[in-house]
């Protein structure tokens, strides 16, 4: 009833988790059965180890939070040798978020992940707002976005999802450009560039001054963008941005998302993904919907 497909990926339900909010899944294993998820996207992975940005990296804002983690991760080598063996047995779609600061780095990471049997897809992060040349430079320009996607496409054979930034004027143009370059799916939105100031201390709340806004505050922006992109491209759209309930997830599905990702809400309720799956089931029963696909893109 809740099964959906994103390119070659078969998801038992449309509920996934968003990169950077779910670690490597293991962090949540005490709270939920990871195999109940449609899939999960692991932390942004780069060519080599990255320390990320200095503390402070987060600030709570009305109905949301700003973060400036800056892609701290152990690098693709460590992922393949240490993390992957611990999670590969899980019967769900494990997707690796691939980040970089150059086309060469994106390609190199994608190629290494391609060799991992139990990783059926990558999510190409061309939209991180928190590092210089952190991808967002690629994600805000249709030609640059197409260039990095077509280069990765040449070396990566499995499902290629491209994660888009909302920090653009016409997101549908970027989506069309990456579709034309060979993307199998797009996920959106990454965080919205924001800023907060601690007025008592008279300094920015984040070490990087600006950061990425997530949480319920960004949801209407995300729903609007998913709707615009779903109308503009033929490839499946994965929607995310402030989803914290089944009703939120349904908004994205109706706006045209084939699947959704839950991010910041995991911090508030580590079981929220399971609650959402149960809520979707309940909704389908109440509305006599035999196949969740029947409501996708109805708006």
């Amino acid at each position: 009833m809740l099964e959906v497909a994103v390119h070659n990926l078969k998801l038992k339900n449309p509920v996934m988790t968003a990169s950077g909010t779910f670690g490597y899944g293991e962090e949540f294993a005490d709270f939920i059965d990871l195999e109940q998820l449609g899939g999960f996207v692991v932390k942004g992975t780069t060519g080599s180890h990255r320390e990320g940005n200095p503390y402070p990296r987060m600030a709570e804002t009305p109905s949301g939070m700003l973060n400036a983690v800056g892609l701290q991760n152990g690098g693709v080598g460590k992922f393949c040798t240490e993390v992957y063996p611990r999670i590969k047995h899980l019967h769900t779609n494990i997707i690796v978020n691939v980040s970089g600061h150059s086309i060469e780095e994106y390609c190199s990471v994608a190629e290494q992940i391609d060799s991992l049997e139990h990783i059926p897809a990558i999510e190409l992060n061309i939209s991180c707002p928190n590092v210089k040349q952190g991808g967002m430079t690629f994600g805000v320009d249709p030609d640059q976005a197409a260039r990095v996607v077509s280069e990765v496409r040449r070396v990566y054979g499995k499902t290629l999802i491209v994660k888009l930034t909302p920090n653009v004027t016409h997101i549908a143009e970027i989506a069309k450009a990456v579709e034309g370059a060979g993307a199998d799916s797009v996920s959106l939105i990454n965080t919205v560039l924001g800023m907060a100031i601690d007025v008592e201390r008279q300094r920015p709340c984040l070490s990087t001054i600006t950061g990425g806004l997530s949480g319920p505050a960004v949801k209407p922006i995300a729903v609007r963008m998913v709707w615009q992109v779903a109308k503009a491209v033929k490839i499946p759209v994965i929607g995310l941005g402030g989803i914290a309930s089944a009703a939120d997830a349904l908004e994205f599905l109706m706006a045209g998302a084939r699947a959704i990702q839950v991010g910041t809400a995991n911090f508030v309720n580590p079981r929220v993904t399971i609650d959402i799956i149960e809520g979707l089931n309940d909704y389908c029963h109440r509305h006599h919907i035999g196949d969740i696909n029947d409501i996708i893109g109805i708006i």
């Binding site: 949540f28 005490d30 503390y55 990296r57 600030a59 709570e60 009305p62 939070m65 309720n269």
Partner: protein, 262 residues
């Protein structure tokens, strides 16, 4: 084997004011309390406070296994903690716990240890003191605050060993910082400290200079509390470490970069 974390509803058994801006919340879970190591913390969900979305990381102040209760010492600093301070008996509170790595035990039971606490940092030291006092460890407690009214829970430490106080205004104990108190100059097998960052750094620097073992319990801004979001990191000698996962308690031997930076 890593300790299992859980998300559990607790009922407020008691909410009592313990100092000018502190309350102690005594909470009882629906089932049986999980085993908690001193120094570990809970992520507390705050409902009914405007603009509060994220859980609040609060260290575990006391465990009473017989009464099946857990206590939190809450300093009222913002909207979230204000709401917590207003909870009535019987109200429900949702906790994710036990989180993080707690204090290590002293190497031998014949040890003489020093606990140095300031402000809300006093909270985890009480459960540590209570646990260690059962093992006949000799405990000296040194607590500091701006004034007498801002040192919570000090009476609780009295039955467990000597208690020394410092205040900025001289309203209790020695006037000055904790590191100015004569008891701080003595030799200890281990120093445990939790409190404002400048205080902990001063304690750590002095302990390192005197070649004494020391653990600090950090209190960084946190989102998930589970090691997933990487927001709460501290810059250690081996790079960024998560306060919620590798900490909140750190041995100062790997923290020279941190404590040398004032």
């Amino acid at each position: 084997m890593e300790q299992k974390k859980e998300m559990t509803d607790f009922a407020v058994v008691e909410n009592r004011r313990v100092a000018e801006t502190y309350v102690e919340l005594v909470l009882r879970p629906v089932g049986k309390l999980a085993k908690v190591v001193p120094g570990q913390f809970a992520e507390v969900r705050v409902e009914g406070a405007e603009g509060v979305m994220l859980r609040r990381p609060i260290s575990i102040h006391d465990i009473d296994t017989e009464a099946n209760t857990l206590s939190l010492l809450v300093q009222i600093v913002g909207r979230g903690t204000r709401r917590l301070s207003q909870l009535a008996s019987g109200e429900r509170l949702n906790l994710v716990y036990p989180l993080g790595k707690g204090f290590s035990r002293p190497k031998s039971t014949a040890s003489h240890i020093l606990l140095v606490g300031g402000g809300a940092g006093i909270a985890p030291l009480y459960y540590l003191a209570k646990t260690l006092s059962r093992e006949e460890v000799h405990i000296t407690t040194l607590l500091g605050g701006r004034s007498e009214a801002l040192i919570p829970a000090r009476d609780k430490f009295m039955p467990l060993g000597e208690v020394c106080l410092t205040t900025d205004d001289g309203s209790a104990g020695v006037q000055g910082l904790v590191v100015d108190h004569p008891c701080f100059a003595e030799a200890y097998d281990m120093i445990y400290t939790c409190g404002p960052t400048p205080m902990m750094k001063a304690v750590a620097r002095s302990a390192a200079a005197r070649d004494m073992s020391c653990e600090v319990s950090l209190e960084n801004l946190m989102a998930c509390g589970l090691g997933a979001c990487l927001c709460c990191v501290v810059d250690t000698d081996t790079g960024h470490q998560r306060v919620c996962k590798e900490g909140p308690v750190f041995d100062i031997s790997g923290m020279t970069k941190w404590y040398e930076l004032c």
